[in-house]
Symmetry: C2
Subunit: 456 residues, 2 copies
């Protein structure tokens, strides 16, 4: 039978079940699976095992030191490529709860979007991949290529065990490429294909300046203030001009290639639209940096949270004895979390020896060559699924554990994100548009067909 005709039938099957898929994904994301708080992970693992088994995949849950990997394999097409479809079934904590317009784990449709924690990042996206597999099997009784579904339960806490897992289970992960559906489309609504991601290194800075909080009148001027300690320390780490001033941090940066710069320069930009959508009056410092350079070619130092002292109603004349800042640094090639932690530790020891530096999760950056032999199949699938040519991103700003594929398994790794740009992942009112979800299933179906045309 003709490949193109098969895909047409599969896409027709998908289009006819648009509402059914919505109902089913809402049932899926109703179950919390918050890795940072260890809530619901095991329960959602069981749901996925059942789901993969019913699809006809060889399903198994493989323990790690914390949350298990869920694996589903299908190897019925010898000679065709094998694609690893990676995703993660854990979600971010939903706090602050009071800013949600509907409860994070009671999925709600408003204005053509599903609102729920995890609907965009990442449960709605890998659920779309599973529906693509289901559609092929339902229509043709087979898949065009071999598939390994790999779903992680620790992505939102920095994927602490996936590297070890990949090293230990190379035999179960023999493949030709990796495709991940995570993150958002371009702000314009155009689909994208990505070839790399920034890495990340998260840490806490903990200041404790006395054994108890004090009265700011009785002790102001005498007792050191934990919040001031953090303010002054942070001020030495990044200046108001936006320059990271941690010594040595940027020593190992590999500048972007000309091809990467060219790809970034070709990307469209509706700066006014971005600013308006996010309610921003200006970009972050430094002011003169090209937009995509900010996301692709430079590390960042983000304060994720800073809390100390009184935060209730009215005023309170307290002098706080403790405060904590949570931070992350985004990494570009060839920075490593290990190097970054060493630089930050040395910086803190020099500038604020009383402040405790606590390294947390980290992840290496990843890059795949834009001329990989699998790139055309991935790009074509995106066009077939969305009806328009995708934009090509040499790098994404966010972090995914693609390095385990590119640096440990030595495979090309591509991203085909399905979510709307304003999905509000990691924030209150996370959402996924019904249209994006549907096109995601179509793209997934087309990917399997396109890969099925290749021989390895």
């Amino acid at each position: 039978m003709n490949d193109a005709v098969d895909l047409d039938r599969v896409l027709a099957h998908v289009d006819a079940r648009r509402d059914e898929y919505v109902t089913r994904v809402m049932e899926y994301v109703r179950h919390p699976s918050i890795s940072a708080q260890n809530i619901g992970i095991a329960e959602v693992g069981v749901i996925l095992l059942d789901m993969l088994g019913k699809l006809g995949l060889e399903a198994e849950s493989i323990p790690t030191a914390r949350h298990p990997m869920i694996l589903g394999r299908w190897h019925g097409k010898p000679g065709a490529p094998t694609v690893i479809l990676y995703g993660h079934y854990d979600v971010q904590p939903p706090e602050p709860l009071e800013l949600w317009h509907s409860p994070p784990f009671e999925p709600t449709i408003r204005d053509g979007r599903i609102y729920a924690r995890g609907i965009g990042d990442n449960k709605g996206q890998h659920f779309a991949q599973l529906m693509a597999i289901e559609a092929h099997l339902a229509v043709t009784g087979t898949l065009p290529c071999n598939v390994i579904v790999l779903l992680e339960g620790e992505e939102e806490i920095g994927s602490p065990h996936i590297a070890e897992f990949v090293r230990e289970h190379r035999d179960k992960l023999k493949a030709d490429l990796v495709v991940t559906a995570d993150g958002p489309l371009h702000i314009s609504g155009l689909p994208i294909v990505t070839f790399g991601v920034r890495g990340v290194a998260s840490f806490e800075l903990r200041a404790k300046t006395a054994s108890r909080d004090m009265h700011s009148g009785n002790y102001g001027g005498v007792a050191p203030n934990a919040i001031w300690s953090l303010v002054h320390l942070l001020g030495t780490m990044k200046n108001a001009a936006g320059e990271i001033t941690i010594e040595g941090l940027q020593d190992r940066i590999i500048p972007p290639t000309n091809a990467e710069r060219d790809a970034a320069a070709r990307l469209p930009l509706d700066l006014e639209g971005v600013m308006s959508d996010l309610g921003m009056t200006h970009l972050d410092a430094p002011a003169n940096r090209p937009f995509y350079d900010r996301l692709m070619f430079h590390p960042t130092l983000t304060i994720n949270g800073l809390h100390g002292g009184y935060g209730g109603a009215g005023s309170k004349t307290v002098l706080p004895a403790s405060a904590v800042a949570k931070c992350d640094i985004r990494l570009v090639e060839a920075m490593t979390p290990q190097d970054v932690f060493a630089c930050v530790a040395a910086h803190v020891a020099k500038h604020a020896p009383d402040v405790e530096f606590v390294p947390q999760g980290g992840m290496l950056p990843s890059k795949t060559a834009v001329d990989s032999p699998f790139a055309p199949a991935v790009i074509t699938a995106s066009r077939l699924g969305n009806g328009v040519d995708p934009l090509l991103f040499p790098l994404l700003g966010g972090s995914l554990p693609d390095y385990v594929f590119t640096k440990i398994l030595d495979l090309p790794a591509f991203g085909t994100p399905y979510a709307n740009a304003d999905e509000a992942n990691h924030a209150p009112n996370e959402n996924l548009s019904l249209d994006c979800f549907h096109k995601g299933i179509r793209t997934g179906a087309a990917l399997l067909s396109e890969l099925g045309k290749m021989r390895v």
Copy 2:
């Protein structure tokens, strides 16, 4: 009858009722009266009215725009001085609740101390004044001098209406001096008499850099971060050397007189004891400033709280769009909250025009001459109540609305604090030692006797 004999009989009466007073003050502080949260204020006002009436004072509750003033007057000794005994019946918010070893409004005795919110600041202290009045009346049927008890319900929110109240009710407040029992004894345990207080100006800095929180990977480098805005702004307001760098803020400071410097220099200092009690390894910057100079002769800029972004368990790669810092500045003569707010507003407008500056409560500083004709009576009362000479403080670090007495009513105003130095006022586990409470009642009784020896 002989004045000294009368006082001996009154003090014997007080000594015999030591346990009874403890039971009664615990019943009093059991009732919350949190002005910032508008909890329990009216109820405690009613309790006080009843208490003052039963003492035999002419009691009334006089409304202000927010929380009422409770007034109790006794004018049975023409020719003798009239003393205003000022206190406040509102308390600080008890948060963070999880750090209390017993609930803040369930008074508990442990190791010779009563633990409860407000027991030291200030309900236990003005309750001691009332017991002193009760004892005189019980033993002699009269008071040695005229008394006006003035209890405020808004001290912990910056006394926004006491100035207006004092101006409007000058007729009810005709007096010769003011005595306030609030704040702690010296860290050595010695009693103190104070002649002035620093002022205060509280404000918030609110940063809002976008309409919603974002993912630090997808927007890190692009979107400004509200916490970084505050960190960099605050860094321009006070440097790591401890110098306040807000332009114009210190222009109106009157340097201390030689007499004040001498008095400060005579005060004992157990620096190691202070550091050890508070669990501090070093004093606040600048390092070379004499200890009492820090509390008496310099303004401070305290960050009371800073909150933005994620503060829960684990890490969260969020880029926060909003953050708030609560601050207070302590004022020395002749700074005013009005001037300070103008300086800070101009500074914020110059350095971080996107940050919102929100002035809150303020209070003027206050000073009384150390050679006031009423000083000997106050000092003698402290010695008689405590059995030891008090230390004389030209200024206290904390803020009390004494300026309404010294600057509006033009009266000398003295402080005779009764609480132990580690009372933990404004902090979890606020406490008052049973011994301090008892000596406070004795000092109050002696004060009335000493003033009764004077004629005006």
